[in-house]
Every structure is written in structure tokens, then in C-alpha cells.
Amino acid sequence: MNAAIEFRDVCFATAEGRLLLDTISLAVEEGTTTAVLGRSGSGKTTLLRTVNRMVAPTGGEVLVDGRSVRNADLIRLRRSVGYVIQETGLFPHMTAERDVGLVLEAQGRPRAERVRRSHELLAAVGLDPKQFARRYPYQLSGGQRQRVGLARALAAEPSVLLMDEPFGALDPLTRAEMQDMLRGLLASLEKTVLLVTHDLDEALYLGDRIVLLSEGKLVANLEPQEFLRSREPQIEAYVRAFHRGKQSAASGPVEEKRA
């Protein structure tokens, strides 16, 4: 297996000298999904953004398909890497159809091709093009918007997909639907995905591997089962914090809880 994304001793320090990424080395195998967990401020998003060079590392090297992104043509690189962010990513003045086809439009592809492709993708993410193609973001629900965002990220057939808490703003039921949809889609598409999330369940459900960042350092890079079984204190703390509600509800007597 080849590494589709590789981080080699990647560091990033802010202008004020705060170290957001501290010598991170990580290889993401082709066609797999890696979920990146960590607290807010642990450097997850920054790490993701070094891949399409929205952030330029202050040290180390990021490789996509074996080539360093350092001297890559930014426009080409970004068009070849799909990017999905939380909530606000859709352009309010564009219909779903146009937004999804925007990268193709930027590449100067003919309109007919753009429309065909964007209808195809809308259908793939579970939105009937007949009903949704002409809608503006304000006419879509949160979940539908994220579907359009995902379709847009797939438009230029990128081999790599970056997702920054794509379902973070959704209610749990919609979120679960989206996770199912994404899982189905990824099974058929063979994309390499880097998924930033707060949600351990989401990471376990979607990730082939789970990476935990803490204060800019890579703490773990494990398979989901290994991650859950790990005795490493930081991992245990994370897992415990996440499952608190479940445990207290399961162990506490009902009467006591009511009182």
C-alpha cells in the first residue's frame, strides 16, 4: 500500500511563536479513512490544512501522492484535494447545482458537463437533483447543506478528501444519517480521507485508523479496536470522557437519578 498523504516531521508555529504542530509524522494509506481526534486547539484543523497548503508548515514536509506540496502549484493542488468544512461553506448566491460544479467551472469545463456531473453527485449524496439542484443554501436544511458541500468536494474527482468536522453542527439523528451516507459513499469511491472530528463515535464508525493529537503532538495512531483497548493514559482519558454519559446512565439506579 502506498501512502496517499504523508506528514514528515511537520511543525507549525504561529508568528507569536506558539507551536501548534510539533514534529508530526504520519502516513495515511491510499483508500483509507483516518479520523483525527483531539481537544479544541490540539492542532487537528491546522494539520488538515497543511495538506492543501492553506497552512504552510514551518518545518517538515507534507507529501500528497508521494510529491511534496511545498513547491506544488497551489491552484492545481487545491483543486485536486476535496475539502469539506463545518456549516458555512456554501456560497449564498449559488444554487446547489452551481456550487457543486464550481471547481469544474473554475477549470473552464463546459456547462453541460458541469450540470451533468453536479446532478450525478447530488444524487450520490442522496439529494434528488430534480428537487434540489436549483435551490439556494437558505432553502436547504443543515444536513442537506452538508450533503451539497460533500458533493462539491467530490466534483473534481480528487483522490484525497479533507473533512473538517463536517457534521459537527448537526443534530445527532441527522449526523447519524450523514455518517451512514458517507460510509456508503466511501466504500464505493476509494478515496483517502482525513477526517477531523470531536466525536469519538464518529471516529470509530468511519475511521480505519484513529489519530489522537494533544497540544500539537501525535499521541496515538491506532486501529479503532486498539484505540479502545489502549492503556495509554491520554487515550483512556479521552475515551472515558466521551463515554461518561453512557456509563452513568447504565450504572446509576433510576430512583437515585430522579432524585
Binding site: N52, M54, L74, I75, R76, L77, R78, R79, S80, Y83, I85, T88, G89, F91, P92, H93, L102, V103, E105, A106, Y136, Y138, R152
Partner: protein, 218 residues
């Protein structure tokens, strides 16, 4: 009344056209100057305050004084219409400049980030994202500028540039209220028409959404 119209109708029409041409030329020039500068300021926000400040100061010069200042200048002074167009352009700068700058600055930063992350070039980001999102805002500035200029253009008659102000000045000189109204009413109607027409255009370019005011749309 009908006798008055028969006598002055043709002149009112000619002067209205002249008025419109003075205003239109000034708005065209002001747009050509202000929009690019406004866009440039969004790239160099440090310059925004001084540049918009200068436009602001220009705005405070009394119009009669402005026409007076420009009249003795070489080339400009040769034709009164030139003086009028330059002066009106100067007054139209501020609203267009300010709204262009504020309209683009006001766009949600995350949308600009997304445009970059999708691999849009700088030009594509401007024409496909920033300009359409700021368009109704820029047009609102254009509308303010136009209405202001239609009003100020009546004073251009003081330096002999023509326009509906000519009837007003003549009416005042000869104490003939009918002449004053013959200038004032078409000028007011012209302002209202421009306001309405540009208002429609502004609405046409408004970002689709449930909110109706352009400032609330972001």
C-alpha cells in the same frame, strides 16, 4: 398652464436630457474610479481610513464653492460641462467607494477561505464570489451617489453648465415661481426615477435569502 408648457416644454425636455447626461457621465467616471480603488483597499486595509477620509473631505466642500474652484483651471474651465462633470464625479466618489469597500469587507471570511481552498484563482475568487456577494451593496452606493448628483447638478447651472438648474436660476432672477418649479419638479422626478430604477437593480443583485435588507444578508 398649457400655454406655459407649450412655451417651455421643449426647453424642459432638452434641459432634462442635459441634466441626465451630466449626472450619468459623472456616475460613470466615479464608478470607474471608486470601484477599483474600493477593491484595492480591501487588499490593503491599512489605506482604507486615509483614502476614504479624503473622499469624505471632498464631500464636505459646498457645491457652489467646488464649481467656483474648478472654473479657473485650464482646460476644465474652457467648458462649463467639464467643470460640472468633474465636480459631480468628486461628490459621487465617497458613497461608491465606501460601499464597495464595506461590501467586500463584510463578506463572511470563511467563504473567502473556502474559495481559496477550492482552488479558485484570485481573479475567479473576485468575480465569482466577492463581486456577486457585494454587488447589491455597491449598487446601493451607486444609488445614493446618483440621487445626490441629480440634486447637485442643478447648481451646475450657476457656472453655465446647463441642466434643469438653469430654469431654477432664471426663475429666481426674474421672480417667476413657475420657472423655478419647471426646473425643480422635473429634477425631483428625475431623482425619484433614478432612485426607483437603481433600487430595482439593487434588488435584482441581492444575495438570495429570506432576509430582505442587504446589510442583514450577511
Amino acid at each position: 398652464m398649457s400655454g406655459f408648457l407649450a412655451e417651455y416644454g421643449g426647453e424642459i425636455a432638452t434641459l432634462t436630457v442635459e441634466h441626465l447626461w451630466l449626472t450619468g457621465a459623472a456616475i460613470l467616471f466615479a464608478t470607474a474610479i471608486s470601484v477599483p480603488i474600493g477593491v484595492w483597499l480591501t487588499r490593503r486595509p491599512g489605506w482604507a481610513k486615509p483614502v476614504i477620509g479624503v473622499a469624505n473631505v471632498v464631500q464636505t466642500i459646498p457645491s457652489l464653492a467646488m464649481f467656483g474652484f474648478l472654473l479657473p483651471l485650464p482646460w476644465l474651465g474652457e467648458r462649463a460641462a467639464r467643470v460640472a462633470i468633474v465636480a459631480l464625479t468628486a461628490y459621487a466618489l465617497l458613497p461608491i467607494l465606501r460601499n464597495t469597500y464595506a461590501g467586500i469587507q463584510g463578506i463572511d471570511r470563511s467563504l473567502i477561505e473556502v474559495a481559496r481552498a477550492l482552488g479558485l484563482t484570485d481573479a475567479q475568487r473576485f468575480f465569482k464570489v466577492e463581486l456577486p456577494l457585494a454587488a447589491s451593496f455597491i449598487l446601493a452606493g451607486l444609488r445614493t451617489a446618483t440621487v445626490t448628483c441629480v440634486g447637485i447638478a442643478t447648481i451646475a447651472a450657476a457656472v453655465g453648465a446647463g441642466g434643469l438648474g438653469e430654469l431654477i436660476f432664471r426663475g429666481v432672477a426674474s421672480v417667476d415661481n413657475r420657472l423655478v418649479l419647471a426646473g425643480a419638479i422635473p429634477a425631483a422626478l428625475l431623482a425619484l426615477t433614478c432612485d426607483g430604477a437603481l433600487g430595482l437593480l439593487e434588488r435584482w443583485f441581492r444575495v438570495p435569502g429570506p432576509v430582505s435588507s442587504p446589510s442583514a444578508a450577511r
